[in-house]
């Protein structure tokens, strides 16, 4: 029942509410990523956004109109409204002005709590409640370095840097950590933000039924290379995904603990370089978390903090590009 009501809201009201914005941007895909979700998680986010804006927008809008009306009616010298120089209290109004916010907050609190559980990054019920035996979820271990993303596919013993490819109609479960500083993993059209922290493990999940390419962003400041720390997320058909896995597994490069050590050195990914690693040691993710907890860091060279152009020349000279 609730689901049906919600679907109506999503498909009907959403288009009505967002029509002006969507029309502005034409048919070529809206630039308003938050209003154009392509996955279950982002879809749920938008539902709560619409509920909240619906309720609060109504109250705020009416209040604004009230203030404007008072401003018009009680302007000095216009004699539109009655002047009462001593009127400063009314129990009825007090009840109303406390009552409206209390009711609104009570109502929104219910949605806030249910929403928090539905897209709880550790166990998002919008995905986990509908898991089928045939779902066969994909697991991805995300390791953020300064300033690249390494996506390890433990089920396929392979890894990809700065490119995330996932099958459609399939739940995907992430584990995330960082080798350097704190940043945030964010794919606006698919899943909301989750912090990625060194020495710690967070989780997230997504599921999308829309084949396409979506932008991924490091949305928390992580130092000099943050702005280039982006990645493309490609949702592909299952067959294409299997094909892609085979392609990665045939890559000549592989990753070991030692080569991860080199890979994790600060690197600004100006050219959005993508790298395939045909094999990774099992447990690389836990290994990185352990190393960082033991005190391992990959310090930033002071030079990077001075001159970007000079640093990029150095980075190129080292043939890391």
């Amino acid at each position: 029942m609730q689901v049906k009501w919600r679907n109506n809201l999503k498909n009907g009201c959403r288009h009505a509410a967002l029509a002006p914005i969507l029309l502005l941007s034409g048919c070529a895909g809206t630039p308003f990523w938050i209003f154009d979700p392509k996955g279950l998680m982002a879809d749920t986010n938008l539902f709560y956004l619409l509920v909240d804006v619906g309720i609060m927008g109504g109250i705020v809008g009416l209040t604004a109109l009230l203030v404007i009306w008072f401003m018009w009616r009680y302007q000095k010298g216009k004699n539109r409204g009655k002047y009462d120089p001593t009127w400063s209290h009314s129990n009825t109004i007090e009840v109303v002005v406390w009552g409206i916010p209390i009711i609104a907050v009570g109502f929104l609190s219910y949605f806030a709590v249910t929403g928090t559980f539905e897209i709880n990054p550790y166990n998002p019920t919008v995905i986990t409640n509908h898991l089928k035996p045939v779902s066969d979820p994909v697991e991805v271990d995300v390791i953020a370095t300064d300033w690249q993303w390494l996506f390890v596919y433990p089920q396929y013993h392979m890894a990809v840097a700065n490119d995330l490819v996932l099958p459609a109609h399939t739940p995907v479960f992430f584990r995330l950590t960082s080798s350097a500083v704190t940043t945030t993993f964010f794919i606006p059209q698919l899943v909301g933000m989750i912090d990625v922290m060194p020495g710690m493990r967070t989780k997230n999940a997504l599921e999308s039924n829309h084949v396409g390419e979506y932008q991924g962003i490091a949305s928390d400041y992580a130092g000099a290379g943050t702005s280039w720390m982006t990645f493309k997320t490609k949702i592909v058909k299952s067959a294409d995904f299997r094909e892609w896995v085979r392609k990665v597994q045939q890559s000549p490069t592989s990753m070991t603990y030692a080569s991860f050590n080199d890979y994790a050195d600060p690197y600004i990914n100006v050219h959005h370089k993508v790298a395939y690693f045909s094999s990774v040691p099992d447990g690389l993710f836990d290994h990185v978390v352990d190393e960082v907890m033991k005190g391992k860091t990959w310090p930033i060279p002071p030079m990077m903090t001075e001159n970007m152009v000079a640093y990029m020349q150095k980075q190129n000279a080292e043939h890391r590009d």
Partner: protein, 715 residues
């Protein structure tokens, strides 16, 4: 050395070296030359006009709460300007560095700021705007207005008040000198763990950030103690809690927050300093550190701080709306309750600054609901202001326009705040420019309230009004700038643009960034309008003089004394009879009554100790940043010695005799008579009026015996 330092260290100069002076930086070097020329010019002018003695005696050593407040506001306005320039630089970089084909200059691959420089600019922008612009501006207003509103001659601790100001000034100087010596932190105003650790921030920038914030926290805590003590202990006779002006209530709530929360910041920063100076591991990722502990500690202060700055702004609005609606504030009691409720709830919501940390759904739900609770008292306040206008007689002068602007911005900020309070929405817009637009809506609410207050209280402090035309011009320019910058910013938030990008990878965002750049140009015009406002107002000050009740419809006690307020505030402490005392006296026809006789009053002496302590604190901060240990030891010992010396010396104060007082009062009354806006009936022969100033419980006072109401006050 307990930690490894990049770039060497020597016992004499610490980490200081010629290479730390950015003389080759194409932005900073010319700026430095300009600053030096400007400074020489100002110092030269002071010398030329022989104003050094005046400056030292009347301003630098003063303990007068009004002058200290004016200096707080001056620091606030100067830093507001600096912060605005930072904002201009941020907007320009983001409008320029869009897409892989955008050009780059000055060592940046795109735009004109390298990532590290850009990080410093927005970090400085945040620290300055919140702690060195908004906070001093509000503390300045509380300093000036609170004692006059409660009928006190000065703060409870005048010397401590001066100390708070000079600590703030030292912090301002420290952050300004980081422009030209070394660099500033790039970790945002709130700092991230572990990016502020030595491995990721090897320079001195983070150290500047630590000691600037520590000094500001110290200054604000001292100020908080002072304002609380003043409100609790220094109220004039008859000024019961139920008659306290609403701005005083707001200041009370706000400083309860300051006193209780700023120590948390000081501890958090001290632990960061331990990591960076002693090689500790409080907030490192490894070796037992816990980086989210820092985030928790910071926001345990950081969120109450947000309400520390918004509550006085609400108080200002609550004073301005009734004056220009010509009727009392609607729902005084609920307004007080709402302020206290906001102060209380401010302690329960800090986690909403990092919903995305990955806390469980129960934790996030609890903080989400707590956050939304803030919306209740805030909503009540908005309704109360609306109903203050209801059945009023509204004058839309410049002060009122700014206050109404604040109200509408608060509505926008409230709407978006209620969105951010829901984790399911927050996940999508957290760390995006949507959040940036939200808290700018809230902080601009404060800025609007501040400009409203500048216009509203300026005549009280200086005795003449600001120019209405330029104040309104500035308002409309500022509002146009606000709309042009923040409407596109909200839209960009819905497009998924994240904050702090020094290079914008998505060219679809470019048009919006260009509109924002245009908006910041309009803001620049409003800054020019502000300069014009000051210039024109000072030029025409002779024709804009006002008497005690500058607006004619004022309500609270500060409008009872002369404008400009004499240094002793009230020659005879007034007896307070009503919530809106001046309105009450006006309604009862005794608003022009002056005291019939004067008695000696006791005032605190000026002291040079506060400014010297401020200077030494600046030296200590600078020495700590550069790790010049001998200088640290020297300045710290000097501070301790000076504090001990002063505590033995004490301040006996001095006496203004009744005769002197009468002379000064007569002069003030002659001034008012000349202005002609106030008709004083001193000694008019009406029985009872002579004593009505100090004691006027009843409009008809014929049978009341004489009273010295409150003359036993000593500061």
């Amino acid at each position: 050395m307990l930690v490894d330092l990049a770039g060497g260290w020597n016992p004499m100069l610490g980490r200081l070296a010629w290479s730390q002076i950015p003389y080759d930086n194409p932005i900073l070097a010319p700026l430095f030359v300009a600053v030096v020329i400007g400074a020489v010019l100002v110092l030269g002018l002071i010398t030329y006009y022989g104003k050094w003695t005046y400056l030292w005696k009347e301003w630098l050593t003063t303990v007068d709460h009004k002058k200290l407040g004016v200096m707080y506001i001056l620091i606030g306005l100067v830093m507001l300007f600096r912060g605005f320039i930072d904002g201009l630089m941020i907007r320009t970089q983001q409008a320029w560095a869009v897409g892989p084909h955008s050009s780059g200059v000055f060592g940046a691959t795109h735009g004109y700021l390298t990532p590290f420089h850009f990080g410093q600019v927005y970090s400085a922008h945040g620290v300055i705007m919140i702690l060195l612009a908004a906070t001093p501006l509000l503390v300045g207003f509380m300093n000036i207005i609170v004692p006059i509103q409660i009928g006190a001659r000065d703060m409870a601790y005048p010397y401590l008040n001066a100390l708070g100001l000079w600590f703030t000034a030292a912090a301002g100087a420290l952050i300004m000198i980081s422009l030209f010596v070394g660099d500033f932190a790039h970790n945002g105003w709130f700092g991230y763990a572990p990016i502020f650790e030595l491995q990721y921030s090897p320079g001195v920038g983070v150290d500047y950030w630590i000691w600037t914030m520590e000094l500001l926290a110290l200054g604000t805590t001292l100020g908080g103690i002072n304002i609380l003590a003043t409100i609790i202990k220094m109220r004039a006779p008859g000024m019961t809690w139920g008659r306290l002006p609403i701005f005083v209530w707001a200041s009370l709530a706000s400083n309860v927050i300051a006193l209780t929360s700023f120590p948390a910041l000081q501890v958090a920063l001290a632990l960061v300093a331990a990591d960076r100076y002693l090689g500790a591991h409080f907030f490192t990722a490894g070796l037992g550190g816990n980086l989210m502990l820092y985030t928790n500690l910071f926001w345990i202060w950081g969120h109450p701080e947000v309400y520390f700055v918004i509550l006085p702004a609400f108080g200002m609005m609550s004073e301005i709306f009734p004056t220009f609606s010509e009727k009392p504030l609607f729902g005084y009691m609920t307004m007080v309750l709402a302020s206290m409720a906001i102060a209380g709830v401010s302690w329960l919501v800090w986690l909403h600054h990092f919903f995305t940390m990955g806390a469980g759904p129960y934790v996030n739900s609890a903080f989400s609901v707590a956050t939304m609770l803030v919306g209740i008292p805030t909503g009540v306040k908005v309704f109360n202001w609306a109903f203050t206008m209801y059945r009023g007689r509204l004058t839309f002068n410049a002060a009122m326009l700014w206050a109404i602007g604040a109200l509408f911005l608060l509505l926008v900020g409230g709407l978006t705040g209620m969105m951010l309070a829901v984790p399911a929405i927050n996940y999508m817009v957290h760390n995006s420019v949507f959040v940036v637009a939200h808290f700018h809506s809230m902080l601009l609410t404060i800025v609007y309230a501040i400009f409203a207050s500048v216009i509203y209280w300026f005549p009280k402090v200086f005795g003449f009004k600001l120019n209405e035309f330029w104040a309104k011009t500035m308002f409309w320019l500022f509002s146009a700038g606000t709309a042009l910058v923040f409407v596109p910013m909200y839209m960009l938030g819905f497009m998924g643009m994240t904050r702090r990008l020094d290079y914008v990878f998505n060219t679809a965002w470019h048009p919006y960034l260009l509109v924002m750049e245009f908006g910041i140009v309009v803001y620049t015009l409003s800054v020019l309008a502000f300069f014009a406002l000051l210039y024109v107002s000072v030029r025409d000050h002779a024709s804009n003089q006002v008497g005690a009740d500058a607006w004619g419809t004022s309500r609270s006690l500060e409008w009872l004394t002369h404008s400009p307020v004499p240094f002793y505030n009230f020659a005879v402490l007034p007896h307070v009879n009503a919530r809106d005392e001046v309105a009450w006296r006006r309604d009862n026809g005794i608003d022009h009554v002056q005291p019939d006789h004067y008695e000696d009053i006791h005032m605190p002496n000026n002291t040079g100790v506060a400014i010297v302590l401020g200077g030494l604190t600046f030296v200590l901060g600078f020495a700590l940043v550069w790790r010049i240990w001998w200088l640290c030891a020297f300045s710290l010992l000097a501070i301790i010695a000076l504090v001990i010396y002063r505590s033995f010396k004490g301040d006996p104060g001095y006496i203004i005799t009744a005769a002197e007082l009468e002379q000064m009062e007569k002069a003030a009354m002659r001034r008012e008579a000349r202005i002609g806006k106030q008709q004083h009936r001193v000694g008019s022969g009406v029985l009872g009026e002579a004593i009505a100033y100090a004691r006027s419980d009843l409009p008809s006072l014929a049978s009341q015996p004489g009273s010295t109401g409150g003359l036993d006050h000593r500061s």
